[in-house]
Symmetry: D2
Subunit: 140 residues, 4 copies
């Protein structure tokens, strides 16, 4: 397991990721970003445990994505994921998608989450054990 | 509501349906077929009720699809859906995807389902009220 | 053809639109938004012609989406699409996704485009016949 | 590079792969299968070269898939891909999707391809250098 606050997830662009222009489709990037966030939790099983024990889920309330370069079939991409900000009632993750061969940014995104108490189905503050687990991971 | 045993669902091909060749991607056709099956139940709310009351679900166990022609952006497709066979423990739906302008077949598929008792999580025979509701819909 | 500056595109939520929580997946909303933008051009064939004649394409450079409510299977959604801003080198569309039965906003998004000269593969100003065609459609 | 005639491609099931039942959606398996076929060519760059030099493409004309078990979030799947049959005008690949932890088969599929001369846009026989390259890979 890595100790870096950033997780890097590799994805190779395939034919089914493309649209009619031969470029990765706008919607598909959101799946790449979700894959990166799952990878972030894969690398931090203890964090995943804290979240599960708290009975909460991170629910996206906003996503802001820049499309900078087109990615094409065969491109090796790296999805970079880190926790960028921790508020009292929300958290923001920053994600970048780079071409592995030249490091150029294909896309970058900020995703804002609220914490949902799954049983009560309502937003709750980010506090207690979860806050303690998340604080050391924040890097603006 | 129609009385025909075949339901026709229209779909217009869009950029996000295509792959890098500019053709509708193989996987996307399965979403078109699923859309057609939802449309089949939309046209038969009483059948949908019988299924719900029985606490069962149709679970696909086999799908056999022929790809005959490429569909491209702007094509108006018609998804035709009908019940083709009703066994004691399974059912088969036949679906065709045609271009609306010339009636040419783009794709055709057979989907075989078993009936799952959702609570018990096991396959059950197609009998009783459900069989009565389905029998008049069969057209090979 | 409508004369309104807003196009409304209906989509019914199906099983394949959902993720493991039983909610429409974040990425799928971007396909709903793209469907809405195709619908916008379907309603304005003369605008589509101007774009084609100019040899240009609208390329998304930023998308900012709020997720407000979860949509579930069977929900009838309305995708509202309009041109919200026209700069010298970019355009912004505003899109809303509402539940048809109560008008509540499920999601809203702003999508910023630049105009790409397809042959030269570079961004070009929004001017001439295209600007004339777009100006009357702007509603902030 | 492996010398086996079967390529094994790992995929971990994520939230965005699921449908409303919490199971991998039927259509998504076709993307898993396509991923497996790209992996097959990644492991055989010399075969990929022969195909490219011949100016041909493999176009799927039939897909027959059995759905045996539901896959759920977190499952580690292995996509097994091999060339199962080589006719004069078509080829068939056999693919299996297994759970890594117990080896149980989740799904299996046969995909039949014809060889398309891309420039002429017509089917051509599988012969010459391409046939020589493919023959040693066949395992029924």
């Amino acid at each position: 397991m890595k100790t870096s606050v950033t997780t890097v997830t590799p994805i190779r662009v395939r034919g089914y990721h493309l649209d009619g222009y031969g470029h990765v489709n706008n919607a598909r990037y959101l799946e790449f970003l979700e894959e990166g966030r799952w990878g972030y939790f894969d690398e931090r099983p203890e964090l995943f445990e804290v979240v599960k024990r708290a009975g909460v889920a991170f629910v996206a309330v906003n996503l802001n994505i820049d499309y900078r370069r087109a990615a094409v079939e065969g491109d090796d991409l790296q999805i970079e994921t880190r926790l960028a900000e921790l508020g009292t009632r929300s958290a923001r993750m920053h994600q970048g998608i780079r071409r592995a061969n030249d490091g150029k940014l294909v896309s970058s995104a900020d995703v804002t989450f609220v914490l949902l108490d799954v049983a009560a189905n309502k937003a709750v503050p980010v506090d207690g054990a979860l806050r303690e687990a998340l604080m050391p991971l924040v890097m603006e």
